[in-house]
Symmetry: C2
Subunit: 125 residues, 2 copies
DNA sequence: TTAGGTGCAAAACCTTTGCCATCCC
DNA sequence: GGGATGGCAAAGGTTTTGCACCTAA
């Protein structure tokens, strides 16, 4: 991965904030420094930085919305190869929400736990 | 919420699968029964069913991708009012990944835990 | 020198919306 | 009847991509 001023500026913006900004927010910040940078470049660099492990990404939007008719709370496993989502039969830890509420002062209504890895089918192929 | 054959068909499809289908997959399934249903109707009904609590939705794509330069693993809290994402200072449970791997036969690389609720700022306003 | 990066604009993609006809209560 | 819902198509918003030019190594 080549070092460019665009990439450095993007990483600089990301490291200087504790918020978890969107691509568009980053774009607007970086433009203060490099006014003619393009949004495409921001996306390309975010992807490169993500792939090289320098940044983490939450809720990659390429992942489509998925729906589920199950009523009870349960956890999920998402295969990183085929993107399929499976239910996981693990008891839901309700106690942890209260602990986080105490710690943060936030109202914690529920949590979502998703495991990531490779499903059995994709291990074979 | 009014009862229509489109809504029933969508719910039927959702209840008959253990996969966690995308809107488009549901649309194609429902078309076998109601060939001229429109994708807009599928989305509208999924939203209605979601709001009434009859189905759950994973990764609502309205949520933009968000990026984070922190290197260490950590958990997040997402405010359901302002959509901001905060870091949570809770130790990461590494042992659970092995347990799920044993249980499922999947390769579990990591997990993501996100709490949901209302942040302090949004409680005041 | 040259593979990789940039800017720009267009395309792709998923989701929502406006409009009017239709259906359920 | 009248408000909720459906079908269609167009719009909306985010992300990706093609292409010609540039630049770091």
């Amino acid at each position: 991965m080549r070092k460019t001023k665009q990439k450095e500026a993007i990483l600089g913006v990301l490291r200087s904030t504790i918020s978890h900004p969107t691509a568009d927010w980053i774009y607007n910040e970086v433009r203060k420094e490099i006014p003619n940078i393009s949004l495409g470049t921001v996306y390309r660099n975010l992807r490169l930085l993500y792939q090289s492990g320098e940044i983490a990404e939450l809720d990659m939007c390429g992942t489509l919305s998925r729906f589920d008719a199950r009523q009870d709370e349960h956890y999920h496993f998402r295969c990183e190869k085929c993107s399929q989502v499976f239910d996981v039969d693990e008891p839901v830890n309700k106690e942890i929400d209260g602990r986080i509420a105490l710690k943060t002062g936030f109202v914690v209504e529920y949590h979502r736990l998703e495991f990531r890895g490779v499903c059995r089918k994709c291990q074979d192929s």
